[in-house]
Symmetry: C2
Subunit: 315 residues, 2 copies
Amino acid sequence: MITKEAIEAAHERIKVYIDHTPVMTSEAINALVGANVFFKCENLQKAGAFKARGAMNAVLVLSNEARAKGVATHSSGNHAQAIARSAKIMGIKSYIVMPHTAPEIKKRGVISFGGEIFECEPTLESRETTLQEVVKKTGASVIHPFNDYEVITGQATVAKEFFEDIPSLEVIIPPVGGGGLLSGTALSTKYFSPATSVFAGEPEGADDAYRSLKSGIIEPSQSNSIADGLLTTVGDKTFPIIRDHVKGVITVSDQEIINAMRILWENLKVIVEPSGAVPFAAVLKAKDTFRNKKVGVILSGGNVDLSRAFKLFGL
Amino acid sequence: MITKEAIEAAHERIKVYIDHTPVMTSEAINALVGANVFFKCENLQKAGAFKARGAMNAVLVLSNEARAKGVATHSSGNHAQAIARSAKIMGIKSYIVMPHTAPEIKKRGVISFGGEIFECEPTLESRETTLQEVVKKTGASVIHPFNDYEVITGQATVAKEFFEDIPSLEVIIPPVGGGGLLSGTALSTKYFSPATSVFAGEPEGADDAYRSLKSGIIEPSQSNSIADGLLTTVGDKTFPIIRDHVKGVITVSDQEIINAMRILWENLKVIVEPSGAVPFAAVLKAKDTFRNKKVGVILSGGNVDLSRAFKLFGL
């Protein structure tokens, strides 16, 4: 079990390598929602997402011997860049397995941090086989994007900071994909702000967390949403934490995500990617649940091509 | 003359009504510029621009009697919204004279803060006549967008905060339009960080400050740039301060402004309006001047229609 002390230690460990991101508010958004909404801007985090925290923690806790051989992962998203950045900071190699179909911008992000890309087919099987080959060849340590206790502990520092800056939040709501951020948020809430309720926003087209929470066991789901960071299924390390500590998962359609994203861009003047707008879309959808409450929304990432955003907005 | 104590008092006075905006950095931008660049995010300020500071200070220093009659200004830009917001906070009326050609989004901004709009022709003469009529009818106090010592003192708090958060900046660079932010920045630099050099960025198509600084007297100029917040000419209160304390004005083309704006959106994940990207465009243009220096760039505002921004980006 991840302890309070483990989260505090992780925060101390990663502090100098990450940003203490700002919390923003908007009078117009408060009026629109009918609640007092605070936004934790992890879209402004190093490498553009909260993933910088878990990756940094996981790399820092490796033994010197293990670390010297480098780190590896398979990811086509923000975790890939976060791992490459953490490796660069530590002066070690990073090996990133990515489907050859991954967007150029994601590849460039990894390369800009000195990561070495290994292309594979866009199937889970090909990803895992390729990753095993890389590990066999290099001896690198694999850092899973979410189903890893050190990664979860790192992601837990988002909520810890949030509670430090804005005490007595009545609700905290991150998005859920594989559940690293959500399980970390749930644990930090339990330890640092136990009166706060934890909800999560999830795309309708990848609603495994919603259905798993209902049935009590991990349920598979399709993966069909513009929120490309949330298409994965909760893992056997993240789900039990979610099951025990999360009050509810609210699912939203792609159009609701786009609307929420545009409101955030226009009112907060920050760039939020589709996945990052999911919890705010959930707050807009379930206004009655949050009315007059002090609500903490985690904007998890800001990595979206402007041309893609432009198309989503229909401009 | 505006004293150090006056700036400190203004900062105390307005503190609870404005945001202490974050300072952001980007490893990619540092590599691109070859310098250590810090961005003061006034685009994330209340009402989307630094103008909230000067407007709030000017409204707060009015006598109770004067304030009760309301405040008035002519502006089609960020100052209009800032005045309307300050008036709303104080529970008084605001009267905003705007050309009937002003964009709908700017009008909506003023109305959302309860401001009353008086439409005029898009000429300086019509603006001033209309403003005089409004004042005659209402007895409201006029708050000029920049040529006002209380406004300048309020804008000076941007640089004061910046120096508090990032000590020993070697350069500070805001944009210049009418010169309220630039003269305030120059004074705060003199008092709080005298070793720092003050530069400014200005659009080529509205280069009155550049030419005035060269000749030593206020020079008129055309007003032709996408940086719609910087089309005004420096005033008789702002220019003497600029002349005495500013090291140089760097002019940039519209294309350079658009390029800078896009780099900021993509790397900092924040929305900056064309005027707000002008100083960074100047830093990119005059890289040699800033090489290896600790440079403080003021991102002055974030109020731009997404559809307009996407058109500027050619998307």
